[in-house]
Structures are given as structure tokens and as C-alpha cells.
């Protein structure tokens, strides 16, 4: 098993749920696939989904909901074989 970083495709603000007050897309310990949406990045009022990119278990988020992020910044790790 190794830890894979999930990177944001864009700079902006990272959110863990689709809208304020809505449940988070995923939480630590959830099983994810390559296409599981784990968060969104808001940039100039547009939202882009962040996909897990690898199948496995979401180990941890390394940024908080509402944090500013840069392009290609790790936001979470996925434990995958």
C-alpha cells in the first residue's frame, strides 16, 4: 500500500462539499474510485471538481474546507495498492 497525493487542478478555494451546509463529498476512510469527486475548487466564482484520481481509501485531507490552494497542490491522500 502506498499513499497517493490528490492534487487540485486549479488554484482557488477548496471546499469539501458541493455547497455551504451540504454534506461533504467524502470523509476519511471512505473507499474511492478514480472518478470519485472528493472536493471542488472555486476559482473566480466557477467550480471545478477534484477527482480522487486513483482507486483506494481516502486516508486524510491535508487542507481544510475553505482553504486557499495553488495549482497542483496536494489536498488529500489516498491509500492505494
Amino acid at each position: 500500500m502506498s499513499e497517493h497525493n490528490v492534487l487540485t487542478p486549479l488554484p482557488g478555494t477548496f471546499y469539501r462539499s458541493p455547497s455551504p451546509g451540504a454534506p461533504a463529498f467524502v470523509k476519511e476512510g471512505d473507499v474511492v474510485t478514480v472518478e470519485t469527486v472528493i472536493g471542488v475548487v472555486e476559482l473566480m466564482k466557477q467550480f471545478t471538481e477534484v477527482l480522487a484520481g486513483v482507486a483506494g481509501t481516502l486516508s486524510a485531507f491535508v487542507v481544510d474546507d475553505g482553504d486557499a490552494v495553488d495549482s497542483d497542490q496536494p489536498v488529500a491522500t489516498v491509500a492505494a495498492p
Binding site: 486549479l10 488554484p11 482557488g12 478555494t13 458541493p18 455547497s19 455551504p20 451546509g21 451540504a22 476559482l43 473566480m44 466564482k45 466557477q46 475553505g66 486557499a68
Partner: protein, 459 residues
């Protein structure tokens, strides 16, 4: 109608509760009237052009809009600290927030806009529809108000006829809209739309309207002083991407004199029926095949595309808002409002049209903006300006005026051709391609034109 003060005098100090190009616009109008300006800023906007131009700034909070420009408590505290006797909310942000307008008035300050009650009335798009009906203004066939549950939605849709638009009552500005083409789709979309509306607008109310497939977006500018209303004619805003306008013109090229007169009369009737005060815009869908038009919504604020109306009428709308807010009656009679020539506005956004309109924040360098006869640029750009990732992508509005539509198009091409904008991507190439398109040149377009044009790879 509640009034929190019996007398108004001309404004002495104005608090601007907005940012970007509209904040610059408001500061300019205020300065010309001898009004002091105080700007509320987030920490990301300390170096903005509006912050440099304002007489004073008050910091509202960190960059995120929710913590600054949309943070009512922070804005009210800043207004108090500023000593301003009036507040201009611009467009977007708190400009159509009735609670904010009420709060400003409770503080004994002037809100530059209509009464909070009117904002609330027109802010609920389902209620606004009913106002239009009562004022004798044609509306799109639809439900008389918000639809309580999916059963009612299905029955209503059967009467209205498919396709049906689901619209958030607390939405507006093209947000919170879905289209259902069958009963099955409607069942699913209705529940989704309610949930989305609740999350996005704090109100899950949905109303239904017939989907009008091929129509033009025509809007009428009005000014009221609480007793009288005048119109300043029409604008056409049919070129939209994802329901956001990108190119507008005044007057609407597709209207006959007879339809223009009926549209303007309908708009004035609606505004009069609510004793409207300040600037406002009434939006319609116009079917140029049948000559029918339908009210869709009223915006109780200054609009982004207001410069086009200013260029063809010679009237400064923000100035008039400030005068009316200071207690003046309308300074013009309807017969003094004349249309002269044609104005076109191109909205330049920090988005890359080559990469699916990917937002493109960054630092502007090598900036050259156009000028010359009949060219106006409303923008907050300066060389070295950092285009922020936290707000919308509007960089500049380039507006041209000329004697005729064909001359205005030539002038716009000339003006856009002068622009240099390094360090970021913008939609400038898109506008140049659009203006070179035969359909745009002959004004042969409608609200779905641009997306189809982009999808076909013409853009």
C-alpha cells in the same frame, strides 16, 4: 411603505459597498457631484484601483466574499466607522439584499436604490411575475407562484406544455434554472432544483414557466423617484454563455418602433405599480417571429451593461441614482429622453476561450486600453494589477458608440484591436471572432445562439 426619515438632503459622504469596475464607476459619479467617497474593501483589494481612487477605505475582512463583501455585519460596521450618510451597493453582492437595505435605513443612512420592500418584492421572482400580471404586463405562461410539491409541478407542467423551465424564486441573474422536457425529467429535476435553490439562495421555492426556445433578451432601463417613472429605452443582451451576458447593445436592433413603444410602456407600468424609486431594469423575452414579448424579471439595481444606455441617451445613470437618493425628483421628462446612435458593449473576462473558458487570474502587464472618439472603457485594470481569484472574472467593459450599428461594430473592432493585455488570458479573441460573424453583424441571433456557435467550433 415605511420611511425611516422624513427629510433627505443631498448626500455628503458615500460608502461604496462593492469592488472592481463598478466601484470605480460609482466613485467617479460621486466625485463629480462633490460627494466624498469611502470604499469598503477586502484585504485582497487593498491595491485595487477603486481603493486608490476613493477618499478613504475601510477594511471589511479577508478575501472571501462571504467574509467581506457579503458579510452584512462587517459592512454595516464599516459604514458606521466611515461616517457616510449614504450607501451605494453597486450590482451583485448586497445590492438586492432587502435585509441589508433595511439595516442601512435603520442606521439612518440613505440606501442608493429602491425601497427595501420593492427589493423584496422583485427579489422573489415568482412574486415579481404576479406583480407583472397585475400591472397588465405579459408574462411567460407559468405557475402563479411557487410550486409546493412535485405533484403540483407535474399538473402545472401538463397545462403549460413541455419543455418547462424550473426557476428558483430567490434566484435571478440566470442562476437556479433547469429545463425539463418530460414528466419523468420534471420529477427528478424538481427535487434537485429545490435542493440546489435552498443551498444557493436559502430558499427552495421553485416556480415553472414555459421554456421559450428561440427568443431575444430585451430589457428596458427605467428611472423612478417614487412618484414618477421614465424609461430610457431598451438594450439587447441575447449573446450569453451559461446565461451570463457577454455582449450587449443599445438600442435592440430587432425591435420595430411599435414593439419598442409597447415594451417601454409595459416596463413603465410595472415600475409605476410599485412606485419605483432609483434605477431599475425590466427584462423580457421577445419572440421576433410572433412579435410577442414576456416579462421574466426585474432587477432593482444598476446593471453591468448600463453604459450602453448612457451612450445612446447621454444620461449618467449612476449620477441620477445619487441625485434621486439625495431627495431630488426626476430631472428629465419622458419626452426629453432621446435615442441617438448605437452603443455596443463587450465584456472582457479573465477566462481562456481556448481552454473551455478556464478562469485565468494573474498579474496584468503590458496593458494598453483603447481610446479615441466614441470609445469608453469601464475597468479596474492598471499595469501590474493582480487579477484576484476570489471574485468574478470581469476585467473590463469596452463600450463604443457610433451613428449606426455597422459603424459601431467597425469602431468596436478598431478598439478591441488596440488592446494589449499580457499576463492573463482573456475573452478578447472571442469578441473579435463574434464581431466578424455574419449572424452577429446582421443581428440575426437569439439567446441560444452563442452556445451553439461555440459548440460548433465557430468560436
Amino acid at each position: 411603505m415605511t420611511s425611516y426619515f422624513s427629510e433627505r438632503g443631498p448626500i455628503r459622504r458615500l460608502f461604496i459597498a462593492n469592488r472592481g469596475e463598478i466601484a470605480v464607476r460609482i466613485i467617479r459619479a460621486a466625485r463629480e457631484l462633490g460627494i466624498e467617497t469611502v470604499l469598503g474593501i477586502s484585504s485582497a483589494d487593498r491595491e485595487s484601483l477603486s481603493a486608490k481612487l476613493a477618499d478613504a477605505v475601510v477594511e471589511l475582512g479577508p478575501p472571501a466574499a462571504a467574509k467581506s463583501y457579503l458579510n452584512i455585519d462587517a459592512v454595516l460596521t464599516a459604514i458606521e466607522a466611515s461616517g457616510a450618510d449614504a450607501v451605494h451597493p453597486g450590482y451583485g453582492f448586497l445590492s438586492e439584499n432587502a435585509d441589508f437595505a433595511h439595516a442601512v435605513r435603520r442606521m439612518g443612512r440613505i440606501f442608493v436604490g429602491p425601497d427595501p420592500e420593492t427589493i423584496e418584492l422583485m427579489g422573489n421572482k415568482a412574486v415579481a411575475r404576479e406583480c407583472a400580471v397585475r400591472a397588465g404586463v405579459p408574462t411567460v405562461p407559468g405557475t402563479p407562484g411557487v410550486v409546493s410539491d412535485v405533484e403540483v409541478a407535474l399538473t402545472s407542467a401538463a397545462t403549460i406544455g413541455f419543455p418547462v423551465m424550473l426557476k428558483a424564486a430567490a434566484g435571478g441573474g440566470g442562476k437556479g434554472i433547469r429545463v425539463a422536457r418530460s414528466l419523468d425529467e420534471l420529477s427528478t429535476l424538481f427535487v434537485e432544483a429545490q435542493r440546489e435553490a435552498l443551498a444557493a439562495f436559502g430558499n427552495g421555492g421553485i416556480y415553472l414557466e414555459k421554456f421559450i426556445g428561440r427568443a431575444r433578451h430585451i430589457e428596458i432601463q427605467i428611472l423612478g423617484d417614487g412618484q414618477d417613472v421614465i424609461h430610457l429605452y431598451d438594450r439587447e443582451c441575447s449573446l450569453q454563455r451559461r446565461r451570463q451576458k457577454i455582449l450587449e447593445e443599445a438600442p435592440a436592433p430587432s425591435l420595430s418602433a411599435e414593439v419598442r413603444e409597447r415594451l417601454c410602456a409595459a416596463a413603465v407600468a410595472l415600475a409605476r405599480s410599485v412606485s419605483y424609486s432609483s434605477a431599475g431594469t425590466i427584462e423580457f423575452l421577445y419572440d421576433d417571429d410572433t412579435g410577442e414579448f414576456f416579462f421574466i424579471e426585474m432587477n432593482t439595481r444598476i446593471q453591468v451593461e448600463h453604459p450602453t444606455t448612457e451612450m445612446v441617451t447621454g444620461i449618467d445613470l449612476v449620477r441620477e441614482m445619487l441625485c434621486i437618493a439625495g431627495g431630488a425628483r426626476l430631472r428629465f421628462k419622458q419626452d426629453e429622453i432621446r435615442l441617438h446612435g448605437v452603443a455596443i458593449e463587450c465584456r472582457l473576462n479573465a477566462e481562456d476561450p481556448e481552454r473551455g473558458f478556464l478562469p485565468s487570474p494573474g498579474t496584468v502587464n503590458g496593458l494598453r486600453l483603447p481610446a479615441g472618439p466614441g470609445v469608453r472603457v469601464d475597468s479596474m485594470l492598471y499595469d501590474g494589477y493582480k487579477v484576484s481569484p476570489f471574485y468574478d472574472s470581469l476585467l473590463a467593459k469596452v463600450i463604443v458608440w457610433d451613428e449606426s450599428r455597422s459603424r459601431a461594430i467597425s469602431r468596436m473592432k478598431r478598439a478591441l484591436g488596440e488592446i494589449e493585455l499580457g499576463g492573463i488570458k482573456s475573452t478578447l479573441p472571442l469578441h473579435l471572432r463574434l464581431l466578424g460573424d455574419e449572424a452577429v453583424q446582421s443581428a440575426n441571433y437569439h439567446t441560444n445562439f452563442l452556445e451553439a456557435w461555440l459548440a460548433a467550433g465557430a468560436g
